[in-house]
Amino acid sequence: MSDAAFRVCIIHLHRGKSEIVTFGDKNKHIGGSGLAAALFEQFGLPGEPWSHPDQPLIFAIGCLTGYFPLMSKTVAGFKSPYHDQYAESHAGGRLALAMRFAGYDAIVLRGRARLPVAVHIGSRIIETKDANYLWGANVFTAGRVIRRAFPSGSGHRSILRIGPAGETLSAYACINVDTFRHFGRLGSGSVMGVKNVKAIVVSGDGDMELPGTDSKVYGKLFKKVYKDMTATEMMSKYHDLGTPVNIAPLNALKSLPIRNLQQTSDPDAEGLSGEKFGADLLIRNAACSGCPVGCIHVGMLREQFQDEHRFQIRQVSYDFETIFSLGSMVGLMDASSALALMDEVEKQGLDAMSTGVALAWATEAFQKGLLSMEQVEYDLAFGNLQAYKEAVWCLGHAKNEFYRDLAQGSMHAAGKYGGEDFACVLGQEMAGYATGETFFASQSLSFRHSHLDTGAYGYDQKHHDKNPDKAVAFMVEDERERVLLTSLVACLFARGVYKKELLAECLACVGLPDLAANMDQASEDMQRLRWRTRLATGFEPEKSRVPKRFLEVETWAGNMEPAYLDAVRQGYIKVIRELGAPAETRQE
């Protein structure tokens, strides 16, 4: 095994032992997305269900993690409870640097603990502690107790935990990372839950030598990247109002999903704008470790709980996606109400986007008489904050048959209760961009069913020629470039700064000149490996659908063109099949 191999910590939960192995090749797998897929190829069971005890839960960082600004994210790889196929989810927080300084490029959880545990991993410690007493605790309580149970290392460790949703095995339970960040989408929280792991603590308690051979060259390059990230206009959007700045322009473009996508624009959306949050609720910013941009926006939720001026305050992080899903999508058109619902979703450990979109579907289904009061228990109506807060608790706890079904996904529930036409599902619950056909095609088919797989929402806004071949070519190339970034692992907000030339310079500087010279091929290979893995675990892109509601959307550019949407999807399906073809077939 060469120096370019990754160092991986494998925890065998069922027998309380771990092993440290060298695995793969940085020049080939890069790290992050590529490394996670390679580890799944090695340890995953494609034909077994996601809940099989031997399925791995993988966390992977990349070969530039921590060495340069915004190389600050971690990729989780797992078989998803949402679709029972291989999936990825990405999170920031302190995890990436904590893993780097603990000395592991990846952590793999295998097996299932007999009783709930908390796992602690550091450079010189690997232990599991009983956490049976924490089962049932919400995300905030779990965080507080775990901080006390593992008292050392404050500031230089990362704490991952699940809430009730991960314990009741919701298809969209998240893993909370350091309070404000998440492995949000596709149900990684339930993969922890099914393994009986309530929390994971990663202590970044080691120190390392500087990368490369010349500390001056490294220091100079770091400074250059740092200046680009902080002093230029490119990052100001994330630094200033943050992603919520998109609410007003998308509303103006009739592209903001509102009230279960029955509308795409509403004058009341002004109450949810980034400007409104910034003026009324923003109290501070926070950052992922290793990122000077500080894009985490924290709002103050002030709630009166008793007469005579008795208030409680909480700090709740907000982003565009949570404002869309737990604000406009459910008709909560004021910032404080949206923030209050975000807080409830955090406690339960649910994915904010899927939860909001699922509740929006349930609201319309209830209005249309497909669901009874007995089933929903609370008066689900657009704008009814109290009912939604109760419903979120019911979702997290899988309280009755209906909420158990809804916790498996909107389309799953619609398949049983009706209303499939207006379930806003594109592979999973939609992201907040009703920008047009290209985005709908992209999210319905893309690898993570995420708005971040490709820049299709931007493409819809910039290109109006409705040329399916061009759209497909854009998506595939954009995906390949993003695979490189999510393998290194960079925050995708830095994609405007981390162009290929700069990445090559960074890779050469840390002693990976071969990868620097071969980035395009390596990222294409990892793009193919990811698709092969996804297809091997059962993805059939031909069976994906775009529900009718999406075709009824009218944006600033007009009505949807079903023929164009279909052509883009067919073109993308063809490429996915080609990218995901078995390696030996392709070589022939």
Binding site: G66, G204, M208
Partner: protein
């Protein structure tokens, strides 16, 4: 002689850029711990951050405790470090009243030398290099 102060930690976002810069530029390490300034959360991310760094005592307890010339008194507060003299005894870290000396895994001490190289890497201007007003500082630290 100027000293480093973390005077505006209420603004800190917890990015660790200062620690990484100190480790990289002063201590020649890739670390967020082997650094003259370390950032901790004061009990979860919602409670904010605090900086662990040398408060520039005069006389410095760490220098008094050092059995060799590795740590000696710096004029104006703090210490001058000569690592070749260090025998890895750890007495400096033990003596520091504010836990400002970090011992790495090999037992090597890392402490702030008040050079100010971290200041430009703080995106929120939490840090500053400034004169220590002598009239309030003789015999100890001061709140500047």
């Amino acid at each position: 002689m100027k000293i480093l102060r973390a005077t505006r930690m209420d603004r800190c976002i917890g990015c660790h850029s200062c620690s990484l810069a100190c480790a990289r530029l002063v201590h020649k390490k890739f670390s967020w711990l082997a650094s003259g300034i370390r950032i901790r959360s004061s009990g979860g991310l919602t409670t904010g951050f605090e900086a662990r760094l040398c408060l520039a005592c005069e006389p410095a307890a760490c220098a008094l405790a050092c059995p060799t010339g590795a740590f000696s008194q710096r004029k104006g507060g703090g210490v001058i470090v000569k690592m070749r003299q260090c025998i890895r005894c750890g007495l400096c870290a033990e003596a520091c009243p504010v836990d400002a000396v970090y011992l790495d895994q090999a037992g090597q001490p890392h402490v702030c030398i008040h050079c100010g190289q971290c200041v430009e890497f703080c995106p929120h201007d939490c840090l500053e290099l400034r004169e220590k007003p002598e009239h309030v500082c003789v015999g100890g630290t001061c709140d500047v």
